[in-house]
């Protein structure tokens, strides 16, 4: 199966350092792989037909699509021939046998079977091996996931992560909605990456309507996207010291995050920036108030950064733990902070034309450990402060040039849009027919990083799992959908 033209063509793009945007199935029996050229931002799409419910699997030569193909198998019933592990990923034993929600026309809830939702797990067999199951409900305030550890003593031999506990069926729900009905759902896909999702949807409609965004609109979106990165990175940075009991740093970071959110509430009317970007529009906010908020934040942030960087015990605790090998970052198609902290320099903002004049430098580390992910986030947060300030200054000097044509309500066509969310490359594959959604596929940044996290944890002690997990800080909601 490894030598099909389909697999060779995809392999060739991977070897040319293209980034896979998404592997999408559609109900017309087609699989489409869309790749991004990181040198110029151009896209290249490849197709393969599904014949008698079968298509050739890419997984044996392209590890990063292992989950995508399992998801397609679960939701469409298309079988990826040659896939090495076709256990259910999204579906559970409670799903009726022939229920394929994105292939069958009806999206009504099926008659769920009265069974446990647990899927078969991969565990290590042998003398002295202990199986430790965690979740799906947890002892803290976290999203739902089920983790099956194989341990020997305190050492993790293998982690099988069973996600999709939060699977609601959002992609099916979006089908049939009109352009104006979609925005509130997309805004609530994930509270940590909401502006990124909203922007992808806005870009999709604008692209299919031949709408040309004004510079003012682009600057407003940069302010919102970077404000979200600041919020999300503050949250993630606060969690890492919590993972090692460094409560002072944890609580102080939560206080800074709260200060930022109160500012966002005043300026944008929402603590998480829900409903701030729509097709043809972005919340105007106030550039003056934003700059004042940045000025008030700066001393708090600098003091916190000095505290954590100057604490040798904390820095030592993070060093050498949860190492991502650079080769794994490439094979797993890792995205965002996890990738950049392991030497993979990709940041989607560098190929988005509206970021071009801002001279963005991706923050990179080669170490791949928790400390590297922590320090990449610190640097990215400072870079986001700079971007917000620069965009606000432009808005003050040259803003309000909001011309632009109208959006077509009845747009048709297919487009793949992307942004760099706080958790990495975030992609939407949108098909519209006369202003109605006929297919909507979301490939969030965390989707590629979950299997990489599981690989990374093996070889560490089980007590380090919370720390490693928090340094990846992967969200569940836009992964599970």
């Amino acid at each position: 199966m490894n030598n099909t033209p389909w697999s060779q063509a995809n392999q060739a793009l991977k070897e040319s350092h293209y980034e896979l945007l998404c592997l999408t199935a559609t109900a017309d029996d087609t699989i489409t792989a869309t790749w991004l050229n990181p040198a110029d931002g151009s896209q290249q799409s490849l197709n393969v037909p599904v014949i008698d419910q079968h298509f050739p699997s890419l997984t044996p030569t392209l590890l990063e699509v292992a989950w995508d193909e399992r998801e397609i198998h679960d939701l469409f019933g298309y079988l990826p021939e040659g896939h090495p592990d076709l256990r259910p990923l999204v579906r559970t034993p409670r799903w009726p046998e022939r229920f394929f929600p994105l292939k069958n026309a009806s999206v009504d809830p099926p008659p769920w079977r009265a069974l446990e939702p647990d899927n078969p797990a991969v565990t290590v067999q042998g003398e002295g091996v202990t199986i430790m199951k965690v979740g799906p409900s947890h002892a803290g305030i976290i999203e739902s996931g089920h983790f099956i550890f194989s341990l020997i003593g305190e050492n993790v031999l293998h982690l099988d992560a069973h996600l999709f506990q939060n699977h609601r069926g959002v992609e099916a729900q979006l089908e049939g909605l009109t352009v104006s009905e979609v925005a509130p759902l997309i805004s609530r896909l994930c509270a940590a990456d909401t502006v990124s999702h909203q922007t992808n949807w806005a870009l999709a409609v604008e692209s299919l309507s031949d709408f040309e965004a004004s510079q003012t609109l682009e600057w407003r979106r940069i302010v919102l996207l970077e404000s979200e990165r600041i919020l999300s990175h503050l949250n993630d940075l606060a969690q890492i010291p919590a993972g090692v009991g460094f409560q002072v740093a944890h609580q102080r970071a939560l206080a800074i995050k709260e200060y930022w959110q109160r500012g966002l509430l005043l300026i944008y009317g929402h603590r998480f920036l829900f409903d701030t970007v729509k097709p043809g529009w972005a919340h105007p906010g106030s550039a003056e108030d934003m700059i004042a908020l940045l000025d008030a934040m700066a001393p708090k942030w600098k003091a916190w950064r000095a505290l954590v960087e100057g604490h040798h015990g904390f820095q030592d605790r993070m060093e050498g733990v949860g190492i991502v090998q650079p080769i794994d970052a490439v094979h797993f198609g890792a995205q965002g902070v996890a990738a950049r902290a392991a030497g993979k320099a990709f940041d989607a903002r560098t190929v988005l034309p509206w970021y071009r004049s801002f001279d963005l430098q991706p923050s990179i580390s080669l170490a791949g450990d928790v400390k590297a992910r922590f320090s990449v986030r610190l640097n990215e947060l400072d870079e986001s402060f700079r971007l917000v300030e620069q965009a606000c200054t432009l808005l003050r000097q040259k803003g309000n040039l909001l011309a632009g044509n109208d959006l077509t309500q009845g747009a048709s066509g297919r487009v793949i849009t992307f942004t760099e969310s706080p958790h990495g490359l975030n992609v939407h594959d949108v098909v519209l027919n006369a202003g109605h959604v006929t297919r909507y596929h979301v490939r969030a940044g965390t989707y590629r990083n979950w299997p990489l996290l599981a690989k990374t944890v093996a070889g560490n002690t089980v007590a380090d799992f919370p720390l490693i997990n928090k340094s990846f800080e992967l969200c569940y909601s836009c992964n599970d959908r």
Partner: protein, 134 residues
Amino acid sequence: MTKTQRSLQIRHVDGGSCNGCEQELAALTGPDYDMQQFGLDIVASPRHADALLATGPVTDTMATAVERVWDAVAAPKLRIAFGDCAAGCGVFQHAYASHGGLDDPDLVIPGCPPDPKAVIQVLRQWLKANALPS
């Protein structure tokens, strides 16, 4: 003798939320809101809890876990639907794998997500006026 409740220990279960409700719950335990000072806390086990607090529209996969956690909380006990999704008025109510919110809540805290200040007010007012349902 008063029947009102002085404190409330809460077990949280995510039934398919967007993580907004979780972030606000975390803020409630942080330094600015410090809900522990009012006798309100999120606890690590249903055996320690007086209440189940569910977020999200309750996905089919999580529905069993939500009810199992509820069964593990000792009576008298309270069922709290936290946020619009759990309250049955969120945007994902009609997705095929969503059960449309938490069944039969005793207390609904609306919002998308609920504002932390309002959460403390609602919980304190409820505790002043009510005893836990037995």
